[in-house]
Every structure is written in structure tokens, then in C-alpha cells.
Amino acid sequence: MSTDGRPVLEVADLEVHYGLRRRRRRVLHGVSLSVSRGETVGVIGETGSGKSTFARAVLGLVRASGGRILIDGEDVSRYSSRQWRALRRRGVVQYVFQDPLRSLDPDLPVEESLIEPLLVQGVGRKEAIERGRGYLARVRLDSELFGRLPGELSGGQRQRVAVARALITEPALIILDEPVSALDSANRVGILEILKELRDAGVALIFISHDLGSVAGVADRVAVLYQGEFVEVGATHAVINTPQHPYARLLVGSAPTLRSAAASRAERDALRALLHA
Amino acid sequence: MTSARHLPSARRTRHGAVLGVLVALAALVLSACGSGSGAGTAAAGGGGGKSTTLKWASSFFPTHWDPVVGGSGAQFRILALPYAALTKTDAKGNAVPDLAESWSYNSAGDEVTFHLRPKLTFSDGTPVNAAAVKNAIDRAKSQKNSALFGDLTSIKSVSTAGDLDVVVHLTQVDHQIPLLLGERVLQIASPKAAADPAKLDQNPVGAGPFVVTQLIPGTKVVLKKNPNYWDAKNIHIDNVQLVSAPDKSTVVSGLQTGVYNFADLAPSQAKAAKAAGLDVFVQPGFNASNISLNINKAPFNNPKVVDAVRYATNSQEFVDKLTFGYGKPTNQPFPSGYVAYDPKSANLYPYDPAKAKQLLEQAGIKPGQIKLDLVIMADDPAAEIVQSQLAAVGITVTIKIDKTWATPFFAKDLTLSLYGTTGRDSAVQTLTAHFGPNGPLNLSSPYEPDGFEAAIAKVRQTPLDAPDYPQVLQAATRAGLQSKALVFTYSSPNLFAKNKSISALPANPAHIDWTGVTIGD
């Protein structure tokens, strides 16, 4: 809850390239973002905009070719893989994947996947299971699901397990990559509620999505990623109500809403023409 | 070298005989179908109705067609198709005229003159004359890869006397020369073609009954009748197609369905072939198989062990299990009944395992103490019989199959091996090959039994038609059989199957002579 001023994550001028030599493509260009404790930042972008790459760079799964990444004040941009492993083992940063079925080993019972981060840390099995139960309760899952295989759970249950797994190391920052896209309404609401609680408990969240709508309810700030650059960063209400960049405007205008279309078809067409020009 | 053929070639013995099954089934069907060579066999490719074709599947397809190079094994029988020699043998094994009309020894017996038939030519048109014969003998003695020079040690030099007379000068008195210079050792190639031996090896040119028209190495050869052969009027076969035989099993079905009409046969297939309505016959020959011992190496440096092996060997078992009644037991390098076969030695070392054990005991050897490797070139049931017979007296034998068997064998490096000879027309040659100090088949070189050398010299000095020739020859055999290096086991048959339309072959021992043979419909 307490925002002590020092950001959990600070990314400055991040550059990421894929491929070698002539096939080299720039995926992220000069991306900067900082996230403080208890803050939720939505990163919005379409397929191929670089949003997953952003997450992977922060997690050290992709090597940045420029810029700096500070986690909890520590500059990790030049970390060796050994250092990275040590950092990850502390569990400061966690990650939740979009597809909960694929992010849980289908052959291992839920409990095994859940407590894996603790086991990696060297926590005793018994204690790990005990703690695991607690976190399962925190995501409102019955601990009788413990022995089940992921294939035997519903999509919403699986995603809760994935969230619990991310929570189990008491991370300062959780990055969620499209955590609700694969879920239907009831589960979506359930997960979003849990995220809100987390935020209120002081965990910093980065919520990645292609859909502004799914982020709007929980994000304090929104960063719009378009073709590898943040074209608009700002408070959620500001971005939604007064988007500046044409892409941001299109994004807002395209989001399906219940009672009032944010933009008319004609407006959208105009924006598209503008973007493609 | 040469004279010996390693008996059962891998493919002949081992696999094979699937035929039988076929035959069993076929027997029924056949009775309904009549002769098998019906419908399916469009193969014949025969042109006019009258022309006759011999379709021969051979397990001994020659690897070399230069007679000087390819002298070994049973292949000379096939090379006799395109090549003729100075002499050939008749049904009794005597030398009779071939390219040479006649021959005469000088009074000392160390020089023999062959008188050639006039006006003969090789199939390339080169005349068959004294120079050509001299060329052939010289080549056999001197060509780098000659397989024959070991057989020609009695010949000092060759000269010509006129166009048609060849004078052979000998190093010793030797009345075996007319037998020696027959089809087995000296098939004569055109000197013109032989100028390039490598080429000759792929394109045989001789003065034999047939002319090669197509040759696919290792696979197939097509020949047609040679109208210029001296005895062409007695050759009634127009074409010959000789192919390398398939698996034993299919040989009989091939014969039965008319793909072939003549083939050599593994004894195990005889029953099937007969059931298929084929003519199955044994061509007389000099075949003899042996167990070769090296007395220069332990344990055979102990004469008692050698004797134990002799007593432990049961020839009859080889005959029963390997030849299906077509072979004969023999303890000599000849089948019984042959002129060189010594009846007095017939019971030299009778089968007596008890005695064998006793001998080993006397030598202070406990059962199982002797462990030997029996090295052979290809899988052979005979080895398994040897193994079990020796096991019965307490000698443990391990069979080792070695593709490069020939190298250690002829370098006399092996301790125990098997060999089988197809024999030679000249019995002396057979004897020296086995028992002589440098005989290629004597695994114990330079060992030689006492008195053997003298006995052989005496045979050479005895004219073939001398009345005491058999006794002298048998005495030499008897002397040779004292050798501790060889234990003879059995005589395997030259077994053939032919379509009934082919008339009987001349019973010339160890040869296949097509003179007078007809092929009907």
C-alpha cells in the first residue's frame, strides 16, 4: 500500500532487437516506464507491438540491446545468467501467462506446480505445501483441488492457480500477460477482483493486454505500445477520455462498450486511414 | 594354386533350400499342370522354334574369365564353355585329344610334344597354333596374378616345332603332363586377346564350343555355339544363358517354372527337385573334404592329439547329415573307386571315440582342457559336425567365421580349419597339393610325411598306361595319408538338376562336357 517513492521497476530507454545482421529487427525502441509499489500499470498494444517482449526483457528472458532496467533499485541490465537465476530465486518479480493450461505442467498435480517456486528456493516440502494452501485460499480456490491435474480444472480455476503460484514468493512486482483474455465474464471478474486486492496490498502489477477495456478497471496508469514505442502513457481515465495519439484514439474507439460507442464507425475509419498513411 | 574349392559356399549351404516347401506343395499342383515350364515363362526369349538354349543357374559363377587368373574352384567347368585345352578327360578320367590331336613323350620321359589339330581358330580369328599354346603356358607361369604357376612346376620351358607342334620341356620325368594340361589347368586363350589380360578377364576369347556374346560380371553371361569349334558337329546346343544362382530355395522353383533348365543343386534340395519332376543326377568327380590341422602349433604338435582327432572323426555322420545320401565317406583326398584311392588305407583310422579319449588321457590332457578356434570362411554345417564330434571326446571347439580366412589359411597361420577340394585330373597334383611340403592345402608346411616325396617321383616316372600305374599311385596315396596335417571326412557329390528335355551329360569325372548333349522340347 505504502508507496515509498522508490519504484519497484524502472525501465529507461529500453531497446530490444531480434535476429542477426540483415534479419535484425527492432522490436522495442526507447521504451521507458517506472512502476511503484501498489501501482498497477496497464500496457496495451496489438499483436506484434512488442508488449510480450517488454515483459520478457524485464524478466531477463530476452537480452536488451540498450537502455537500463532497474528492479528494486538494482540495475539488472548487465546481469549474467547466474545473477539472474539468483534474482529470480528471490521471487521479487513474478509472471502470469495468458494461457493457464499451458503455463502449468499438464502432468504434474496442481500443488506441484504451485509450490515449485518455493521448492526452487529451497523451502522444505511440508512447509511449501502449507504455504501453498494459504495462497490457494487467497485466490479463492478450495484446497481440495490440490491433487488434481491442470486438465481437470476449469480455465478460471487454472488461472487462479497461476496467480497463486506467482504470489507464493511474495513478489514486489507481478507481470500479467493477458491474464483474463482466455476467460469468460464471471472468471474474468473474479481474477480482476483478486488483482485489485493485490494492488491494494501493495504489490506492483504490470497488466499487459491488447484490450484497453480489460485493463481499465484495475490500472492506475496505462501505457499504449504501438510498433515498439510507448505512444501514450498516462492516467487511465485520461488516456480513455482524452486520448491523444491516433492509435490510442482508435484503441479507445474500438473497444466494445455496452451503451455508448466511444467512437462511430466513421470516426474509426478515419483513424485507420490516418494510421495507415 | 587352385585346385581346391572351398566346399560349401556360403549361400549354397546355408540358406537355401526353400524349395522343398515349394515342391511339396507343387507336387500336387504339378501333376495337374504338367511340366512347369508353361505359361509364366515368357522369359525364354527364344527366337525360332529350332534353336535350343541352355539356361544354367550356377552357384559358382566365375569372378574371372581369364583362365590364368580364375583357375580355382569349380569355375573351370564354366570357363570350359568358351575355352578349349590341349586335352580333356574321358569318362574313365583318361586324357583324350582336345585341341591337340595327339601327343608323344621322348624316351627319357622329360619332354612331351603335342600335335595340334590344323586350321583351328580362336573366336577372334587368331589361329590356334603352337605359338598360341606356348603363349598360354608362358603366361600361366609368369603372369603376375596367375593362379596356375604352382601347378606347372614340372614344366621347364616350352618351344614350338613348326606351326602345330608344341614341345614341353620338363624339369623331371613326369608322365602326368597330358592330364595336367587339360581343361582344369590350361584352358587356352587367344594370344591376341591375352595381350591385355585385364581386358581378357572381362571378354573371354577362346577356341571352345561356345562364344561369349554378352558378359555382365558376376551376374550373367550369354554364349552362342562356336561353329569353328573342332568338334562343333557334336555340339547340339545353340545358346547358353548362364546366370549366378539365387537362393537355394528358388533354384528348384526356377527350374520347375522353366526360368532355368540346368543348375547345380545343394543336396538338401535334391528331394524337392525330384518331386518337381526334374532329373537329379550326380556327376562323377574327385571331391573330398578334410579337417586341416597345423602340427606346428599346439596342441597338434603332440602326435597323440592328432591321432585322437583322427579317431574322433566319424565320416559317416558327414555323409548322412550333409549329403542326403549322395556323398560317400572317404578318408583319402579321393572318392573310393577312383584309381588313386588306396583300398589298403580304407581302415587306417576307424571311428573310435573311446580310443580318442584314451589317447588324450595318455597325453595327459583332461577333457575340456583343449580349446580351439575352428576358423572357416563362411557358415558351414560341416563345422558344426566337427565341433560336436570333437566335443564328444573332450575337445572344445569354437567356430569363427572370418571373411579374410584365405589370408591366414594360406599363410599357414591357422591351427584348425576345414577345406574341400574339387580335385584335379592329375592325381599327383592332388596329392602334392595336400601332402607336399609346399602344398597350398597342407596347413602344416613345410611338414611332409616320410617317403611321400619318393613315392610321388615314382608315380611321375610311370607312364599313365603302364600296368603298374595304379599300384604306384596308390602307394603314393598311402604314403601321403601318413600326414598328420589332414583328416579326410567325406566326398561331397557334384549334384545337378536338369530339365528332362536335356539329354544325359557325358560322365567325365569332375568336368561338365556338353559334347553330344541335346535339348529337346
Partner: protein, 297 residues
């Protein structure tokens, strides 16, 4: 896994057949009523009370030889499979982790081995390098190893790219941890399938080689060798090849069946299959036609 295989009727059948064969391999030599190498004067006889399957060309008891030969035969093809496994699996896993150079190199080797017509190569190698069952086994084993290489590689790749491995990685797990916890269990079933398959292949190849007279070590009996030699005496014992041929076929068939069964029950799909079988067992509606456009009534 074992329980799941046994849940399928084909799995039970395969395990049954293979157990009998394995039992033969273990006990066969001791069960033989006669000395398998003991010759007698009675050659090529038909079945009798004393010689259940008759005698062979040297008068040896065929039944005893079959029993005695079962161990060599079975061990032979198991050996082929194990060699292939040893040669294939490790590079298969490593190819995913050891970088592009190694990956390229091993892939090309695997391609090469695949391109070699293995019977010809086995004939060549065994004939040229000495005529022994070990040489034959080794050659065949190496030549079929690409199967293991590919299978392992594919499985490892799938795991390596999976999110749950990434999740473990993000938790700070080491490569060793991931291999033990995630990779192993995924790679095992396909390897088991390949192993079962290879045992079958090994049997056929080794018996083919025996038929060609390669790799035979007389007088030791093997099924392939017996079959090959029986084919030489068909006119005397036309029925003789049937028993070794059936044994070979049963073994190959059993292995293939087992391979299929393992494949069917492994992984997510396997669980689904078993569940649906259980479900279907409760209902009696048989064949499902392919929905090729008819109305669903």
C-alpha cells in the same frame, strides 16, 4: 504409465504377449528338454513325443533350440534398441540446449543415418567388419538411432518452448531442475514408444541378416538363424519355419502393439482417451460416422 497402458485392451494384449516372450528369454534355456547343441543320428524328423518340433539337419532337438535361442534373440533386439537409445537420446536432448552448431551437426548426422539404406549398410558393415552378432546389432542400432534422436528432440523442443518451463525458469529453476521435473516425464513416453518400435525393427533386421548368413554364430541358436536354416530344408520339414516365424512375428507384433498403446495413453490426449473409453463403456452406441456433411439426426 504402466497402469494406463494396462487400461487398454491392446495394452494388456501387448504386455501379455511380451511377458510370455520375456519369460521365454529368461527361462527358455533352462526349460529346454534336450541339449540344444546335442546332435543325434535322427536328422530332420517330424514332431514326436520326444522331439515336439522334430529335429534339425544335425539331429538336434528343434524345440530345445528354440527355447535356448530365445534369450539370444530377444536380447539381440533389445540390444539394438538400447544401442539406438544410447546413441540417439542424449544428442536429441542436447541438440535443443547446446546451441546451433551442435544442433545443425547432429541433425545432419541423423539425416545421414536415415538416408543410409540400413539393411544394405548393415550387410556391408557386418560383412566387412567381421561376422558377428555384436557387429550386426551395433550397426543396426546406430542406424536406427535417428528415430530416438528425432523423437527425443521433438519432445524436448516442445517442452523447452513450453510456458511451464519458462515459468519454472522465471522462478529461478536451474536447467537440471527443469530437466528432472519437466523434461524427463515428457520425453519418456515417446522414447518408450520408440524403444518398443525398435525392438520390433531390430528383430526383423537381425533375422533378415541371419537369413543372408550374416551375423550367424554357429552353433548357437537364434530364432532368425533357425528360421533361415529351416528354409533350407523345406522339402523335409515344410512346417518347420512356422514356429520361429510365429515367434518372431509375435514379438514384433507385441512390440508394435505396445508402442501404439503407449502412444495412445501418454500425455493429455491419452488421459482424454482413457476417460472417453470409460465414458463410452457406459453407453452402447458404437461406431461414430465421420461428419461428412450429413444432417445430424
Amino acid at each position: 504409465m504402466v497402469r494406463r497402458v494396462l487400461a487398454l485392451p491392446t495394452g494388456r494384449l501387448a504386455v501379455g504377449v511380451l511377458s510370455v516372450i520375456a519369460l521365454l528369454a529368461i527361462l527358455g534355456p533352462t526349460l529346454a528338454p534336450h541339449n540344444p547343441l546335442g546332435t543325434s543320428a535322427l536328422t530332420l524328423t517330424g514332431p514326436s513325443w520326444k522331439h515336439w518340433l522334430g529335429t534339425d539337419y544335425l539331429g538336434r532337438d528343434v524345440f530345445s533350440r528354440l527355447l535356448a535361442g530365445s534369450r539370444t534373440s530377444v536380447l539381440g533386439s533389445v540390444e539394438v534398441a538400447l544401442i539406438a537409445l544410447a546413441v540417439g537420446v542424449v544428442p536429441g536432448i542436447l541438440s535443443v540446449y547446446l546451441g546451433r552448431g551442435f544442433e545443425w551437426f547432429t541433425l545432419r548426422i541423423a539425416d545421414t543415418l536415415l538416408a543410409l539404406p540400413f539393411l544394405i549398410y548393415a550387410v556391408a558393415v557386418t560383412a566387412l567388419l567381421g561376422n558377428g552378432i555384436p557387429q550386426a546389432m551395433f550397426t543396426v542400432g546406430v542406424l536406427v538411432s535417428p528415430l530416438f534422436y528425432r523423437v527425443t528432440r521433438a519432445a524436448t523442443l516442445a517442452v523447452a518452448r513450453s510456458q511451464y518451463v519458462e515459468a519454472a525458469l522465471i522462478s529461478g529453476a536451474s536447467i537440471g531442475w527443469i530437466a528432472r521435473r519437466h523434461v524427463w516425464g515428457k520425453v519418456l513416453p515417446p522414447v518408450a514408444v520408440a524403444l518398443a518400435q525398435t525392438i520390433g525393427v531390430g528383430f526383423v533386421v537381425v533375422s533378415s541378416l541371419s537369413f543372408l548368413g550374416i551375423g550367424v554364430q554357429p552353433p548357437a541358436p537364434t530364432w532368425g538363424g533357425l528360421l533361415a536354416s529351416d528354409l533350407g530344408y523345406l522339402s523335409y520339414q515344410p512346417w518347420a519355419p512356422i514356429v520361429p516365424a510365429l515367434l518372431i512375428m509375435a514379438t514384433v507384433w507385441g512390440s508394435n502393439l505396445l508402442a501404439d498403446a503407449i502412444r495412445d495413453v501418454s500425455g493429455e490426449a491419452g488421459r482424454a482417451l482413457l476417460n472417453s473409453r470409460r465414458a463410452r463403456a457406459r453407453r452402447l452406441n458404437p461406431a461414430e460416422p465421420i461428419p461428412a456433411g450429413g444432417a445430424a439426426r
